[in-house]
């Protein structure tokens, strides 16, 4: 860390030497150790030593940025040249800015030095458990890595952040087969600061494996009907990402195409939904010290009991539109649990799907979506009947979240998100 601080000091003096009065920069040094298991066998061990410098400069109201991996004096000089050239070419825009002085903050979080022996034992334990308990399941790829880094970010307003952090991640891609019958693939993963628990018991890893194991002999749905979806936590995360992107993100607020442009303070979705972007939460593996705009990172609630509390805007979009900035980098979605169990949600469905994964395009700006139900099961009369193949679902994002019929008590925590099952009505479901 001390070497990186010295490098930051040198970089700052180089910037000041160019008479640049307003700037923000960050320097990162990182190291990754990654075990790659292919078809159930250890195949590759990958070590990545990396670094990155980023610089954003402001010439009056003109902004330019550059980043690169070369942290030598020559590389840092090139960053200054490139960012300055970009700013000089840019038109004036007073919305470009950096956060006011946030003070000096330094911390360490997570696991910095990995226990590689225990890590390997946990991986072997996982492979052995799957082979023994789920012999039809194939581990196509397993990536198990430890990442650590030191990051320094400073700006000309006086903010000074320094953090050293590390964590483990574990990601699987699986399928299942019996004789000539095979499934498609599914994937899941977690991040963690500890190796206390077997990987199969973390996040939704066991559910994912059991789901693919039960999908070897899917059935095709006949015809088309309007039904309900019980959306798994990982799939719900994807849909919520689309919801925020389509209606509450910077781009659609700046260009005015958001259908929620003037809906702050109004009920926009079912009052059972509360969605927050959490930063400090014991269920989230690592928090952010600062945002990309140099604000100290905070928790932010976007939707509370169905009411839009704020759009998810960065500093530029906030300045451009005269709305408040959200001091959060996004991504760590936390949804409040409901009052029904997953079994009760399924029992309440006359006809619909337990939707494991949505394979579809990003919805159009109006929120219409259409795609294939992957890793999904038909629900009839409150019971799961069979896995399905070649089944399409389509509807409208906004309508879908207005029509929430229930949210589960059970929450899945994968280190990045905390998510329940969400049941919705009024979705078009069609087979071949």
């Amino acid at each position: 860390m001390s070497d990186l601080k010295k490098l930051a000091d040198r970089f700052e003096s180089m910037i000041k030497g160019r008479d640049l009065a307003k700037y923000t920069y960050s320097l990162t040094e990182s190291e990754k150790q990654e075990f790659n298991i292919e078809h159930g066998e250890f195949k590759l061990l990958r070590t990545v030593y990396s670094g990155r410098g980023s610089l954003k400069v402001f010439l009056g109201e003109r902004m330019g940025s550059a980043n690169g991996t070369d942290l030598t004096d020559k590389g840092l000089e090139a960053l200054i040249e490139d960012a300055t050239a970009a700013a000089q070419s840019s038109p004036e825009d007073p919305a470009h800015d950096i956060a006011p002085d946030q003070g000096k903050h330094e911390r360490t979080q997570g696991v910095i030095e990995p226990d590689l022996d225990l890590f390997i034992e946990r991986i072997k334990e996982f492979l052995s458990t799957v082979a023994k308990d789920y012999p039809r399941v194939r581990i196509l790829n397993l990536g198990a890595s430890h990442d650590k880094w030191t990051w320094i970010s400073r700006n000309s307003n006086g903010s000074d952040f320094c953090e050293t952090a590390g964590f483990y991640s574990f990601v699987i891609e699986i399928s299942a087969a019996e004789g000539d019958a095979t499934t498609g693939f599914d994937y899941t993963g977690i991040t963690t600061k500890d190796l206390d628990t077997p990987f199969i018991e973390r996040g939704d890893i066991r559910r994912c494996i059991e789901s693919i194991d039960a999908s070897i002999y899917p059935e095709a749905i006949e015809g088309e009907f309007k039904g309900s979806l019980v959306i798994t936590p990982s799939c719900a995360t994807d849909f919520l990402g689309m919801l925020i992107g389509n209606y509450a993100s910077s781009g659609v607020v700046i260009d005015g195409t958001s259908l929620w442009l003037d809906k702050v303070g109004e009920q926009v979705v079912s009052d059972s939904l509360t969605l927050s972007l959490m930063n400090e939460d014991e269920r989230i593996t690592l928090s952010d010290l600062a945002t990309g705009d140099d604000f100290l990172a905070e928790n932010a609630t976007i939707i509370e009991k169905g009411v839009l509390k704020q759009h998810f805007l960065g500093l530029y979009a906030a300045n451009k539109t005269g709305r408040p900035v959200v001091k959060n980098n996004g991504g760590n979605y936390v949804v409040e649990p409901g009052d029904k169990s997953l079994d009760e949600l399924i029992a309440g469905v006359d006809k619909g799907l337990l939707l494991g994964r949505f394979s579809g395009g990003n919805p159009g700006t109006n929120g219409d979506f259409s795609g294939v139900a992957k890793n999904s099961f038909l629900i009839e009369n409150g019971r799961i009947k069979c896995a399905v193949s070649e089944t399409m679902v389509n509807g409208n994002l906004w309508d879908m979240f207005k029509n929430i019929r229930g949210i589960s008590k059970e929450l899945v925590c994968n280190g990045s998100t905390v998510m329940p099952y969400i049941a919705v009505d009024g979705i078009n479901i069609s087979g071949k």
Partner: protein, 461 residues
């Protein structure tokens, strides 16, 4: 010279293993103008050295974000140690693949850097044209994106070389609002292989295509939802290329074949109609450079075309050296890595369904009730060949003529079932080279295809 420096480190290659030392740089330029506002204005460079060591089927890989002799030595040591460490835990003991010859390949590619000022001016010119010509648009976004790879390969028992692959694009996104207040959007990418000046010294040459994009958006604005069900359609060349890449290409990547893809049990079997032939081109198509030419892969294998489907029969897979040995086939240069810190994976290059003899007009005239599907925003597929593509632009076909435009929809199917329904193939290929393929790492790929008449599931509302 950088290549000479890496060559000198060959003396550190361990005996009895296969080693590849790679110097690798990626350059990115990006400008985004959202409704006249420059919201991104960035230049980025990443460079480093990596080494990969194959020790009887157990691989060690290491990379450093530096391009010095010391960095080369460090990655060679670390990769060798990683291979040894992993061998203690792996049950693999695989004979090393045979050498496919050695030598120094002729360098390919040149990259010319453009000033950010020129890039911004080009984007602003396009933005001003769209704003002035089409004031009724709700919003517009102009995106300039440029990425290039510069790779220097030094291998223990394969080919060496220095390869540069630049590409750059201007994306035009335009949005209109329907009478009911719903926004509809279309986009198109202009540009291709080469540097900024190769593609954008005169951006006015793209205006006719922008005009066509606007016309299609106006048709979409008045468009209807597709009627869901199993329909006869004409897939446009872009859609056929997407099908070639997503629904067929991935299933014939040998690592996914080993993972149980549908291609495993279909080798040398009929998987498509006789009209369908599909090839992953290395660097040359029809006597001209392919959209994103690959001459040498990141294992040091000299790139050659890989025929995948021949007259409807599945005849080949795409390989790295190890999988080629496993299947008793020949590696054709598909082991590719995107950045300096990435290990080579089996990836596509220029994947294309070959043209036939029909014309688009004949196909449309032959359909009483169906759809002409032109462009897609994205697509996904599964090991089973079950695929999904979002359709962002299309038209009804009624009584042999184009009808109303379509609102966004999705098509899906199972590739080897759907390809058997192909009964007309057009005589022209449309290529798309602006996208990235995601498979652990990103990778620049191109895909192409003719128009095809076939049956497919289409989603409605």
């Amino acid at each position: 010279m950088f290549q000479d420096m890496l060559e000198k480190k060959r003396e550190l290659f361990a005996d009895g293993v296969q080693t590849v030392l790679r110097g690798h740089s990626n350059r990115n330029r990006r400008v985004v103008i959202l409704k006249g506002n420059i919201v991104q204005n960035t230049r980025s460079e990443s460079s480093g050295i990596s080494a990969r060591v194959n020790n009887n089927g157990t691989f060690g890989f290491a990379s450093v974000a530096q391009t010095t002799p010391e960095a080369a030595e460090k990655v060679l040591r670390a990769a060798t140690q990683n291979a040894s460490l992993l061998a203690q835990h792996a049950n693999r003991s695989i004979m090393l693949p045979p050498s496919l010859g050695t030598g120094m390949l002729e360098p390919h590619g040149v990259v010319n850097d453009a000033a950010q000022k020129d890039i911004i001016e080009a984007c602003q010119t396009v933005d001003a044209y769209v704003e002035k010509t089409y004031p009724d648009l709700t919003t517009r976004t102009i995106v300039y994106t440029e990425d290039s790879q510069d790779r220097t390969i030094v291998s223990s028992d394969a080919w060496n070389g220095h390869m540069i692959t630049p590409r750059c694009y201007i994306y035009v996104f335009i949005t209109a609002t329907t009478e009911s207040g719903n926004p509809v959007e279309l986009f198109k990418a202009f540009g291709g292989y080469g540097s900024f000046k190769d593609n954008f010294s005169d951006v006015t040459k793209y205006y006719p295509e922008i005009d066509e994009l606007y016309k299609r958006l106006m048709d979409k604005k008045e468009g209807v939802y597709a009627q869901s069900g199993y329909k006869t359609v004409v897939l446009g060349g872009f859609m056929s290329g997407m099908l070639a890449h997503e629904a067929v290409g991935h299933t014939v990547e040998a690592d996914l074949v080993r993972g149980g893809s549908v291609a495993g049990k279909n080798l040398n079997k009929k998987v498509a109609s006789d009209l369908v032939t599909m090839t992953d081109f290395a660097h040359t198509y029809n006597g001209s450079p392919a959209p994103l030419p690959v001459y040498l892969d990141d294992e040091g294998t000299v790139a050659e075309d890989e025929v995948l489907i021949k007259d409807g029969t599945l005849v080949g897979y795409m390989h790295d050296r190890e999988s080629a040995q496993h299947y008793g086939m020949k590696a054709s240069g598909n082991a590719r890595a995107w950045g300096f810190a990435d290990e080579p994976l089996i990836r596509m290059r220029n994947t294309c369904i070959l043209p036939g003899k029909s014309t688009l007009e004949e196909m449309i005239a032959s359909i009483d009730d169906g759809y002409y599907l032109i462009s897609s925003g994205n697509g996904q597929a599964d090991l089973t060949g079950e695929f999904m593509f979002g359709v962002t632009c299309g038209y009804e076909i009624k009584n042999g003529k184009l009808g109303k435009g379509l609102l966004d929809t999705t098509v899906s199917g199972v590739a080897f079932d759907m390809l058997k329904t192909v009964d007309m193939v057009s005589d022209e290929v449309e290529w798309s080279s602006s996208g990235f393929c995601g498979k652990k790492q990103m990778m620049a790929v191109s895909m192409g295809g003719p128009c095809m008449r076939c049956k497919i599931m289409i989603g409605g509302r």
